[in-house]
Symmetry: C2
Subunit: 404 residues, 2 copies
Amino acid sequence: MKQIAILGSTGSIGRSTLNIVESYPERFSVIALAAGRNLESAYEQAKRWKPKIISLASEPDAQQLQSRLKRYGLKNIEVAHGPAGAVRVTTHPEVDFVVSAIVGVAGLEATYEAVKAGKSVGLANKECMVAAGELLVAEAQRQGKPLLPIDSEHNAIHQCLRGGRLEEVERIWLTASGGPFLNTPKSAFASITVEQALNHPTWKMGQRITIDSATLMNKGFEVIEACRLFGIPPQKVQVIVHPQSTIHSMVEFVDGSILAQFSVTDMRLPILYALTYPERIPSELRFPVMDLRHLDFSPPDLKKFPCLSLAYEAAEAGGSLPIALNAADEVAVAAFLEGSIRFDKIPEVIQAVLSETERRNPESIKEVLLTDEEARQTAHKWVQRLSRSTSLMPRTASAIRHGE
Amino acid sequence: MKQIAILGSTGSIGRSTLNIVESYPERFSVIALAAGRNLESAYEQAKRWKPKIISLASEPDAQQLQSRLKRYGLKNIEVAHGPAGAVRVTTHPEVDFVVSAIVGVAGLEATYEAVKAGKSVGLANKECMVAAGELLVAEAQRQGKPLLPIDSEHNAIHQCLRGGRLEEVERIWLTASGGPFLNTPKSAFASITVEQALNHPTWKMGQRITIDSATLMNKGFEVIEACRLFGIPPQKVQVIVHPQSTIHSMVEFVDGSILAQFSVTDMRLPILYALTYPERIPSELRFPVMDLRHLDFSPPDLKKFPCLSLAYEAAEAGGSLPIALNAADEVAVAAFLEGSIRFDKIPEVIQAVLSETERRNPESIKEVLLTDEEARQTAHKWVQRLSRSTSLMPRTASAIRHGE
C-alpha cells in the first residue's frame, strides 16, 4: 500500500490523483492533503478521505475547517496552515509518495523538504524544477529517490528514455500544441484579448498555464524542466510544434532511432505512471490507435513567441536566471489577466527583468525565494512602466524595450 | 573489438552489415563469411575482408574460390562449403556475434549451432524463428545470450519493449505497409502478374520476401516471429496497415501508454542496434522529424489476405504448423514466380498443406527439417493440382479448395 500526500489536492492534478487512488484502493491510500483557498473542496476531501493531516493556505480557513470537521465527528484529522503546514503534509512520517501539484513557487519549500525527507516525488509543479531544479535533483540523488514527472511531455520523455542511456540521447523533441495563436499573425498580437488567450485548443488547465501556453513560455519552462530533470543540456532539447498533441514527446538516440510516446490526453495516465514506476498497472485509458492519422510538425516561430528564446537563454545561464524568468512571467501574466498590460508586453517584461537580474547560483531554497522576490519586484516595476506606456503613450513602448 | 560472422554475406543484409563494419573499424571486424552461389561477390569479399574462413553453398564453387584466392596470395583463408561449412563459419571459436541473414531454412542449422556455441546472434532470417523459434529461444536462454532481431519491425518492438516489462504489454502493434495490393480489389487478385507482385512500394528486397509482402504472409511470419522472440501470445500481436511505413512498430502497455519507434528506412540501423546492444552508438542515419506528416492506419483485410489468418492459425498451434506454413509458402511462391500457379492460389496451397500436416512438436533441428521436407512435398503436390486446375479447368479451383 503506497501512502500518498498531495500538495494541491483541490486543483486539477490533485483531483485526478484522488480519482486514481479511488480506482486502485488496494494499492494507494491518501494520508495527507494540502489545499489552497478552496475551503469547501478541502472540507469535502477531508470527509471523503479522512487523511491524517490536511493543510490550507490561511489560518482563518484552517480554523474554520477544523471546527466544521469536529462538528462532523472527525476529531482526529490534524488541520494545519501556511507554508509550514504544507511542509508537515509532505514530510509526514507515514507518507511514501508526494504528488507536488501547486502552481507557482508556493509549493517549492514543501516539495524540497519532501525530497530531503526521502520521499519519492511526482512533480506536476513546473516552477519547482524551473526555479530550483538543480537543488531538487541534487537532493533527490543524495537520497537515492526518484523525481518523476507528472505532465504529459516529460512523462513521455521519461518513458522514451528507457530505450537507451542518457549519454546516448541525440536530442529530445518536446512537442508543443502551438497554443491558440499558432496561426495568428504577429501583427495581431498587440490586440489579443484575455478571453482569446484563455481559449486553449487541447487542454483545460488553470489560467496561468493557459496563458503560458499561448505565449509558449510554458514550453520554455518545459525546456528548462527537461534539462534539469534528465541532466540534458538545452541545445539537446528541441521544441517542435505539433498541433494535434497526439505524440506527447520523443527522444532521438545517437544511432538515429526515435522513440515516441502517445496515449489519450488524460492526466491520470502520467499520474498513474509516476505512482507505480518502475511498474505499470492496467488502466482503462486506451488510445484508439486506428484513429492515429494526421500529424503536423513544424519549428516554433521564435519571432512570434520570444518567450521561448528567453527560456533557452535562462536555461543556458542557469542559477538565478530561470528563477527570474518564472517570477517575471508570473507577474506579467497576472498583469495581462487583470488588463494592466497587453499580451505582447508579457515577453518585454520578462526580458527586462532578465537583463536586470544579477547572475548568481542560489544554494538554498531560501536564496531561491529571495531571488524570486527580487525578480517579482523588478517585474512589477516593468509592468507599471509598460502599462502606462501602452495606455497613454503607445508609441514609446519599443523605446522602453530598448532601454528608454 | 567484436568479431563478426555473417551468414549470407553477399545478400542485402550481409552487404549492409559489411558496410557497418567498414564504418566502425575500431569496433567490429569480420572474421567469418558464409555466402551462397555468388562466387564472384564471395571472391571480392574474401579479398577485401580477409576472413579466417569463408564458406560457399557448393563444393565446386568452394574449390574454384580457393584456387583463385591462392593465386591472389591469400593462402590462409580457410574455404569451406555446404551446410557443414556454414556451421563452421558461425561456430568459429573467435566469433562473438553472428548475423544470420540467409533467406529460407538453409540458415537454420548454422544459426542453431551458433546459439548452442554461445554466440550472440542477430536474426535477419525470418524462417529461423518461424520454423524453429521455440528451439532457438530455449537454447539462447540456456546460454544466457541474446537473440536480437535485425528487421525493422521486431527491432522497433525490441526498442519499445525497453519501456516496460513483458507482463506489462497489452498489445504489440506490428505495422505493415500493406504491400502493392492494399487498394486492389479482391476480384482482381486472380490476374495479378509476377511483375506487379514484385513491385513493392517501400522496400527493395529479395524476390521471395517481396511476394510474401504482397500476400501479407511476410507479416504473418512476423507475427509468429514476434510471439517466439518476445514470448508473447498471438492474440496480443495485432497487425496494423500503415502504408507510409514511418512507424516501424509500436508497443501498447497495460496502463494505456504506447511507445512507437521510427527512423529512416535503412537496414543498417537495426543491424547497428543489434551489433551494439545494449549500447547505442552514433550513426549518420537521421530521420527528418519535421517531415513526419500523414500517417494512415487501418486493419488488414483478412478476406483479401488469407495468408495472415493462416499464420495466426499456425502461431496458435505452434510445433509443426509454423514449419509447414513456411515450407508451403516457399514452394507456393516459387511456383507463382515461375508461372505455375496464380497469385491467389498461394494461400490455397498453404491452407491445404496446413490441413494435411500432422500436429507434433519437433524437438531437434533434424526433426524441424524433416517436417519442413514433408510439408514441401505436400506443397508440390498441391501446386501441381492447382496449376493444372488453373490452366485447364479454372472453374474447379474452388472445388479443390473445399476438398474436391
